[in-house]
Homo-oligomer: 426 residues x 4
């Protein structure tokens, strides 16, 4: 199967495609992403942060069942009432659930039963879509699509964490030709004016609750690097002793570097002939011109300090992004890894390739209110001790990311496709 | 598939069956034991002590490849040289290996590849058996058979640990009719004379190195209960507050009871209508007349103190066993759970049903010498902090157990089919 | 000794007292704070976050020796060159040091040797002050004074953590008359206009680097409670099930509540006759009208959500503080515990009593640069995963706190005198 | 104070000294042993296994109060009823107690209060001794003496663990002249006949319950090394790669070596000029001719395997000890460290110098019954997962050790003065 050309083309974001079409295109994509994996691959869990493929397939299905079908489809009966315990993620208001660290023990229900579950729920969703949808049902379908897209990205990053932990180091997709090794384009700076700017989502189209309310932010003049930090630049940081100079690091970061013996990005190893890194295409040489990825906030922050710059705030990033197209090398591009920036003026790689760490803590916007009910647990309760990332990655489904999109992870986490872009005061 | 009647009949122990026949009967049995399990079931690992089914199937195969075929079959080429890392268990002299706690991450090689590996090695073993076997090769085949039988028992206890950890509580085999609930036979005592006795294996037939050298032991007159402690007796212990009286317990045991919140045997839960316990036949009511199982040494010791008796030493057990047939309800009986003792005089349940904790620390016999090479790591290096168990269980393959057989586990472990038999001074 | 009236009067903040006078008043106060404690009390450490009294006394002394005397006092010889290892806190650029969790093992040097060390360094400081001080030396003296004041507060909170961990529950100071139990004044709201405001320190007088640069912030209209949340209000939260409703909590907070079995503030216990709490005055009934203290950010945030309000941002707090006097019941007031708000209009308890959690993550201000050298490690490297607290507490030395002062702790920490004040959008 | 000559002379074991004299001599010795330590030194605890000096002083006093005075001295009132919580060690039947790992937090009661407590209890003990003692009271006094002697040895090993953990590495006693560096005497073997031997205590004089009942053991002919393994021999083991050859080690031992990065005995470090080791005389060069000390059972076992020999069983040791005087360099000899064996025929160093690991698990003797009541918790409940050591050490009080004495520790523990003597089959 040629994933590159056929499979990963998710629903087009900006087209007139109906909600129903986008719903089923999304549902199909999840199955397509799981297709290269055996049933065995789909059950295992390499670490607490990651979930098994099968769990992602079932959880996204349960999400539609629990929050949509049970409420809006008359006479709907759940496929198996024990699945709520198995596949609820973190909704305290729904009830008890399989502990996160033990999702890899769910050999039952089987992968085939989960596929049957998906079929069953898809049939019910089709029945629901045949009806006139209430505004609330339509909103929940939209949320369910976006929710499933998030899990599509996690499915890929989580299977990578599993495959890296396996001694045979399997590839999710065998790579075709050799990975490029061209030079990166030189870094340029793009300057932005200061002032009071409106940030946050304006309410046109779907957005998560954490992207609003739209509000004003005061921003000082700044400059943003026109591309992401590359592997070549990161190797210079390593060679200069970056991982052994405490003065470059946040205290928590330094404790992590020492406690975890970090000497480079996650999945990377020094080998004869250069740096190798595990990827969805297997264990292969890193491309010096491509963005560094699988680095934590701690590392991104230390690198910026070493380089004499800083990370942008999330609002600087958002304001700057107005000058860039939302197009980018996301999942639909089919690379499954971040690619080098192409020559040209202006900001590059703002969308796709790697999520970009910002210097902003993940907190609520002024006036933010949590939605009532279980859906209110979606984002708000994580607003503590995490940092905002912007822009999407090579594993983000088409049309999922926005200028106002706020992704968030803890500062030590690095199994996502996380990288960075430098900033400085103007 | 009717496991009860067909599958579990392992090689007859006492027959004239050739080494070759017993080898392939053993190899087939492993596959039969895995047959009720999906490929998904075979990959997961519920706890560090337990291993995945697939790992057991591959490790026992690797054992023949590494210690037999590579040395004795000219021109043998290993199936895949990466498997040594994956499937070496604990042989330091062989080299590095997948960490024990991460055996559940081995989704590759696949279950099918492991089956192919077994076929490949079986073909080579057949070729080897076509030749005139050297004495050493024959001994290693015998060791490999016994090694694989041990892993057959572990395969069953380990899949039970997995299925217990799953919310759907699947049964390894669906039970037919209802579980019996008859009364246990009353406990009687069988008296034995003291004196100097020869214990340990006499060298006729196979035995592990830890069963020898045969030597003399001084034994005082003692009495042994004619059957194992039952679930009904254990429930009386619980009801009397056995798990909340520190004076009954060893200090390490009491710390474990408090630290782990133990209130009964492993896998057992109090429910309406009585005690339920997870088993290979699913989650079902315990049979009051059957031997209690899944108890630790700590619990066995505390129970004996509560009852006013003690555990037997391993030598008392061995000497007493001379009066009992080695026949018993082991794996071939097909019950997959310990069964009530039948009426009659003399010692009952000495073999099969449950492994019986003894009061003897697992240490070397006088004059014991470790064998040279990797095979010498088989038993000797575990002679520390463990206790000896005797007699085999409902999951022990036919013909595997002997009067001199020494099983051993740490005093806190209880995922095996472990129970106890009381003793007292005469 | 009557600590209340004599001892705790630290250097007056706003007076014309010379730097030298303030230096030695600060040095004396540390000794006075340690005076009620035996040498034994001064060596022990109840938890990793807290340090022994003796360590505080020595570390603050080492700070002057390492950063001031060695550079600015010609011919100065260190008291004992092994003390740097013992009493360096976290200055990576200075070198290796006693692990934080093992500060309680330093029975040597003895308390008397540490007192001698203080005398030795004080003599040298006096010699230095006799000279014409360079601007940099004067700045380091000012920093050393403020540094020692921070440790004076920690000395008190850390000895409280020790005394709480002791079965005899000793009091740091015996209380005189019974603790008051009057009613709290009713809560009122004070409204503030929105706009662009200058925040951060203006450079007049001492401030930490993290208080600047002074810069503009955009603030929306808001209201601030005129007093802190009281124990009576907190007990209503508990009674309403606040600690068992996951929907009120941040996810990290809820995990902490469950994992640590939190059911109320630190040091508090339900007893017959009401809530008791360990304090510097011993284990005594809480005063319902006094501010709740020893609560974490998680708890403060959950309480605010339960109450239908929110925590203020650090800039709202700072802007609002312009209407309040910097006077407050800090250490000099001699209460050693937070006191009820007094009737009257306007904001009360802004300074002293309890540190107030804000909703602001502890991050750098725009344009912040770390100072070069070891002193640069003072604040900047902690700008990650912590929250800002404002206003000082009953244990903050006189003159130490400012409107722009930013204290910071992790969201789970609660051994400081931490409380909260509610806010809402206007 | 010249500890060497005056202080450490404890009650003579074999003299006619009255029970009363021995009681008060023992009580005085504890105070003398604490005399070189400051109050600060006496409060700290370096690890869970070790206790503070003050705790030992108080616990041994509480033992007399709880088990003797409260029962046998009419009108006795306890000194402070809160001390039972503070100073109960592990008597579950007595009640709750300060957690073992937090004994170092007991800054209250103060060292002076503990000394007052000792005086108070000593006065009461004197009053009790003025009366006619019941047989049971006399037995409890004897037990209390022996109990306190055990804690005297622990006091010394525990203060060593603290001083080793301190950066200033203080000496408990300053050493006089340089440590000897003569050659060890060559190792000789002493042969013993096999047969049936009576072992265990015969009831004449005091013994712990775990030394009986006296019973017969069957012993095979064996040889015992005439002296302990020396530091020089241990250094040869290290040099030969002993700590990096897994085949020499028990599996649990090897895991400990790797997990704890063991490369030599506890407290030892390679330095320029040779091996240094922390001792009660400070951090000093090891004496090659002296017995190796601070080694675990794991290490002793691995060394014996490396050397081609084995450890003796506890019964071999006991039978052989009949040919040696119970005299030895115990605490009264005043060396405070193990000393080289002196030339001469026959077994040397059997008593004193170092405790000798045996190959025997610490289990009950045939017919052993736990005493009723709290005193029954003294020994029996530890009969699990530990190994027996024989012979006493340089820190064992005079007259405390016997041929039948069974000390016991876990196989990983090494903060006691533990060493080894080799054995082999005849």
């Amino acid at each position: 199967m040629n994933l590159h050309n056929t499979v990963l083309t998710a629903p087009e974001p900006k087209t007139e495609s109906s909600l129903r079409d986008r719903l089923f295109a999304t549902r199909r994509l999840s199955r397509q992403l799981a297709a290269p994996l055996s049933d065995e691959d789909q059950v295992a869990q390499a670490m607490d942060d990651a979930s098994p493929t099968k769990w992602h397939l079932a959880h996204t299905t349960w999400f539609f069942e629990a929050f949509l079908l049970k409420r809006f489809l008359p006479d709907y009966h759940v496929f198996d009432d024990r699945f709520e315990y198995c596949f609820n993620s973190y909704y305290e208001s729904v009830g008890a659930r399989q502990p996160r660290a033990k999702r890899g023990l769910l050999t039952r229900p089987s992968a085939q039963e989960v596929r049957d579950y998906r079929d069953f729920v898809d049939t019910a969703l089709a029945r629901l879509c045949d009806q006139t949808l209430s505004r609330e049902a339509a909103k929940l379908i939209e949320l369910g699509i976006n929710h499933e897209q998030q899990h599509q990205e996690l499915l890929l990053t989580d299977i990578l964490s599993l495959f890296d932990a396996e001694p045979l180091k399997p590839a999710y997709r065998e790579a075709g030709a050799g990975v490029g090794a061209g030079d990166a384009i030189p870094l340029s700076w793009v300057a932005f004016e200061g002032g009071i700017f409106e940030v946050g989502h304006d309410g046109n189209g779907f957005a998560y609750d954490n992207e609003g309310p739209r509000h004003e932010e005061l921003i000082r003049p700044f400059k943003l690097a026109d591309r992401c930090v590359t592997n070549a630049e990161w190797m210079a940081f390593i060679k200069d002793g970056g991982y052994s100079m405490p003065m470059l690091w946040l205290a928590d970061g330094w404790n992590t570097v020492k406690g975890q013996d970090w000497t480079g990005p996650l999945y990377a190893e020094e080998a004869e002939g250069g740096t190798m890194q595990m990827s969805l295409l297997g264990f292969r040489p890193v491309d010096p011109a491509a963005p560094v990825t699988h680095v934590s906030y701690y590392e991104a922050d230390a690198f910026a300090r070493w380089a004499g710059y800083r990370l942008p705030s999330e609002f600087e990033w958002e304001v700057a992004s107005a000058s860039a197209s939302v197009e980018g090398r996301t999942l639909g591009a089919g690379h499954l890894r971040p690619m080098p920036a192409k020559p040209g003026s202006g900001l590059k790689q703002m969308f796709g390739d790697v999520w970009e760490w910002t210097a902003s803590a993940y907190l609520s916007y002024p006036g933010f209110k949590t939605a009532p009910g279980a859906v209110g647990e979606y984002n708000g309760k994580f607003m503590c001790s995490q940092f905002v990332l912007r822009g999407g990655s090579c594993a983000t489904p088409e049309g999922h990311v926005r200028r106002t999109y706020r992704n968030f992870f803890y500062p030590h986490q690095r199994w996502q496709f996380t990288g960075l872009r430098l900033a400085q005061d103007a």
